[in-house]
Point group: none
Chain length 239, copies 2
DNA sequence: GTGCAGATGAAATCCTGCTGAAACCTGGGG
DNA sequence: CCCCAGGTTTCAGCAGGATTTCATCTGCAC
């Protein structure tokens, strides 16, 4: 789950980055509106945290409007020190999806971000499910029939992202873009390595390989829920 | 849909022009940055395809920057042979809207151009259907009565392309241009080979031959949906 | 601080099966 | 009948995914 923070207050920005990283978000940070638009135009963030007060020309409202003009529909959460109703209206008119008044509790920011990132899912619950496999996004834990599977943050991030898009081909590049941040340099086989690790850990837990590999240029992986839906009270067979 | 191509490689430029014209674009072609800015300033293109490497002074980045300085906001898709992150960053800073690394398949260029110009027709109809056969574009998967058919990317690309133009003669040359890179050198019988592979795999899945062969020069194949529409609840017979 | 354990990432190697080239087969048209 | 465009089969090469190994990093306990 990749988030862009647009915030010029270094202290606040650093705190947000740390906190969100600890919660499993992949964080990119920019300090003004121009950078924000550039970053959002080239990277498909899952959500954007946008401070209304920004240095240079253009405040958060104009940034938000510009994003929408460019057909970038990434959910935006606006941060503001002002508590006027008119600001709220202005923010929503500019295309923001949610609104948070400073000062705020980190836990509230977190809750709202989670809500925004799972908006497009049919089921609004915080748990992704497929067959015996359950992924609790808030607790950041995967379980099989109630038994925890020890996945690391990155592994869970990839699994989560793929489970968000069932029966859809997700390219390695897309995974890189959503699970690593901008200072990650592509060109390695890290995604393949992690896919392998996830498959192995799930296999040990009794879950069959949930990912179809699609070879060739533009290939990638596809999470196929039906692979896990098979009624399987029996022990996994060989093969 | 009017597109400006800025490309000095004559061979590539000609291929792009032909292919895009065939897709209904109105194509203008220039070979250097100065011309490009002149053309874009006088004509309201719907989208610009801009090669990074250009003859004379000024590369694609500077052209893009100059366009934005002149408040020309036409969506720009950059073509580059380089895949470095720094180029990507430079491109976005210059104001490009998308990015494609050479060599690319024509179909991908087309998809991205459509995405950039998408506001009038939403051909994001994710699934192509004919009789029992279904092709899910998002999943990049073909199924017959829900059962997946193991097609490779190339096979699926050809099937998809033919299904996009039902009851229409598609020449071997057209298929080559859409499914292979622009630097693919024609002259083999590869298309015939792939058509054969698709027919065989579909046949195994219980789908009759969906392609009519048109012999002779200028011949090719025609996807005929009615061949698949026959009511067939019966199991495939031996054969 | 030091030491430890797990997580992450880089790199080398293995291996699968896709791709494309080539040879050969078939059937329709003259 | 012959000709030849298209169909079919085969096979080697290799792209690229899978796997393994190792180095580094980070957080934590002491």
């Amino acid at each position: 789950m990749r988030v862009l923070i647009v915030e010029d207050d270094r202290r606040l920005a650093a705190a947000l980055r740390r906190g969100l990283q600890r919660e499993g978000f992949v964080v990119d940070l920019v300090e003004d509106g121009e950078e924000a638009i550039g970053a959002a135009a080239f990277t498909p963030f899952d959500v954007i945290v946008l401070d209304v007060m920004l240095p240079g020309e253009g405040d958060g409202f104009t940034v938000c409007t510009e994003l929408r003009n460019r057909r970038i529909r990434t959910p935006v959460l606006m941060l503001t020190a002002l508590d006027a109703v008119s600001d709220r209206v202005q923010g929503l008119n500019a295309g923001a999806d949610d609104y948070l008044v400073k000062p705020f509790a980190f836990s509230e920011l977190l809750a709202r971000l989670r809500a925004l990132t799972r908006r497009h899912l049919d089921d609004r619950s915080a748990t992704l499910r497929a067959g015996d496999l359950e992924v609790d996004m808030a607790a950041r834990r995967a379980t099989v029939r109630g038994v925890p599977v020890a996945l690391t943050m990155k592994e869970l991030g990839i699994l989560e992202y793929l489970m968000h898009h069932p029966d859809q081909l997700i390219t390695t590049e897309q995974i890189e873009e959503h699970v690593w941040n901008y200072d990650y340099v592509s060109g390695s086989n890290l995604v393949e390595v992690y896919i392998g690790r996830i498959r192995r850990k799930l296999g040990v837990a009794g879950v069959p390989n949930p990912f179809a590999t699609v070879r060739g240029g533009g290939g990638g992986y596809r999470f196929e829920p039906q692979r896990l839906s098979a009624v399987s009270s029996a022990a996994p067979e060989s093969g």
